[in-house]
Amino acid sequence: MKHLDVAAIKDGSVIDHIDSKSTLKVADLLHIQNEEQVVLVGINLTSKFLKKKGIIKIEGKIIDQKEANKIALIAPNATVNIIKDYEVVKKFNTVIPEIIDGIVKCFNPNCVSNHNNIKTKQHVVNKNPIRLQCHYCERIMGAKDIVLI
């Protein structure tokens, strides 16, 4: 069967198997608007594992495990491929970290982290489904409450 594909990149990173609906959130998290080189974003592509997947290809940027783990928060099935000269030289899964530092806003308006200029911090109390507990106010957030800073 013929299908549309997202063009290849020469050197950089490919984030694959993103849950289609979360693709633009991942793009936001990676601040792709600040990239100087080619960035390709595909949504609603066919996938063997997910019904529909999203993919992001960033020319000239190498994503490390730490950055990949942030992606896991919003796209737990995502995988990262590092590309060199059109070949995959490294492939790894994203892993939800134990502590989330400075990337998720606390959803409690009365939380001290929303009033003082401090870095937010959450403890991951459950990975699937995702449940984060604010280090400060102790409130527990589910997937629907997660807003990135």
Binding site: C106, N108, N110, C111, V112, S113, H115, N116, N117, I118, C134, H135, Y136, C137, E138, R139, I140
Partner: protein
């Protein structure tokens, strides 16, 4: 091993069963002890960014009865916070003046923030709707003292269970002791589902009810809280539920209770408990309020390392 020296007291979640019992045991010793000089030369800074006279006086009395002294302020209007200073900065400056900080603040998580910043111990005396751990310690102490044990009790929580932080903390603490819990409230003020899940994960038998009728005979303890009028958009709705959750001697006799039932309330009460209860053996809420001093003495002495 139980270790309290230099430890922050931020949330009841941070203490295991052995640690809870250690403080209760120490409180018992404190109650039998006259004024001492255990904390002579130590200074407590009492920082109350929101007023709570009883809690503040209870801490101050506890510190002074152990021979220590107290500095501080009772409302944020007189502090540098009113001039826009951040909480972190206030804490960094104040810790140079004292050995321990007691903090009351209207923002949730403020005590944890203070503890992260300070190099000396911080005691949370209430952070918004979140935690007030010394209140929970004194609730536990009162139950243990009046029931003789904390193990295997059946507790009824009555009133505003949605916003009542004392209920959440006490229920969590009692989950260490195999308690069975009844949560009795109007539907709009039920315990949040998230919290029910937390208790169920901790193997607590939980029940939700709308009135005491039919279950009151099973209860060893009733923990009553205030239902605030402001929680209701419709004043008619408030009037309707008010009567159902108002404890009186006649009401308890009518629904039927155990002879050795004990009724607790974090106080102040408005009209959710009738005066007719006060003279009965059921009412232990005034003892409860008095228990604040030995419990806070125990915590201060343990955290400041005056007791091995």
């Amino acid at each position: 091993m139980v270790r309290f020296k230099q430890r922050d007291i931020i949330s009841i979640r941070h203490f295991n069963k052995e640690e809870l019992l250690y403080i209760l045991d120490l409180a018992k010793q404190m109650e039998q002890m006259d004024n001492t000089e255990l904390l002579k030369g130590k200074v407590l800074a009492s920082l109350f960014f929101e007023p709570s006279t009883r809690t503040r006086l209870s801490f101050e009395s506890s510190m002074k009865r152990l021979g220590g002294s107290v500095i501080g302020f009772a409302e944020s209007g007189v502090s540098s916070a009113a001039k826009g200073e951040s909480l972190s900065d206030s804490i960094k400056i104040v810790e140079g003046y004292c050995d321990i900080i007691v903090l009351r603040h209207y923002l949730e998580g403020s005590a944890q923030l203070a503890a992260d910043v300070a190099t000396i111990p911080v005691i949370n005396a209430g952070d918004g709707a979140n935690q007030h751990p010394t209140q929970t310690f004194l609730d536990l102490y009162t139950i243990q003292k009046t029931k003789g044990t904390l193990e295997g009790l059946t507790i009824g929580f009555l009133g505003d269970l949605k916003y009542g932080r004392t209920v959440h903390s006490l229920a969590y603490a009692l989950s260490h002791f195999g308690a069975e819990m009844y949560f009795i409230s109007p539907p709009s003020l039920q315990l949040p589902n998230d919290f029910i899940d937390v208790l169920k994960d901790r193997k607590v038998k939980c029940h939700e009810n709308e009135s005491l009728r039919g279950i009151s005979r099973r209860l060893d303890v009733i923990y009553c809280t205030r239902i605030q009028k402001e929680r209701f958009a419709d004043p008619v709705e408030f009037e309707k539920v008010r009567g159902i959750y108002r404890l009186s001697r006649a009401m308890l006799e009518e629904v039927g209770i155990k002879n050795d039932l004990k009724v607790l309330h974090p106080l102040p009460r408005v009209d959710e408990m009738d005066d007719s209860l006060d003279a009965t053996d059921f009412a232990v809420y005034f003892h409860q309020a008095r228990n604040g001093v030995p419990v806070r003495k125990a915590i201060l002495a343990a955290v400041l390392g005056a007791i091995a």
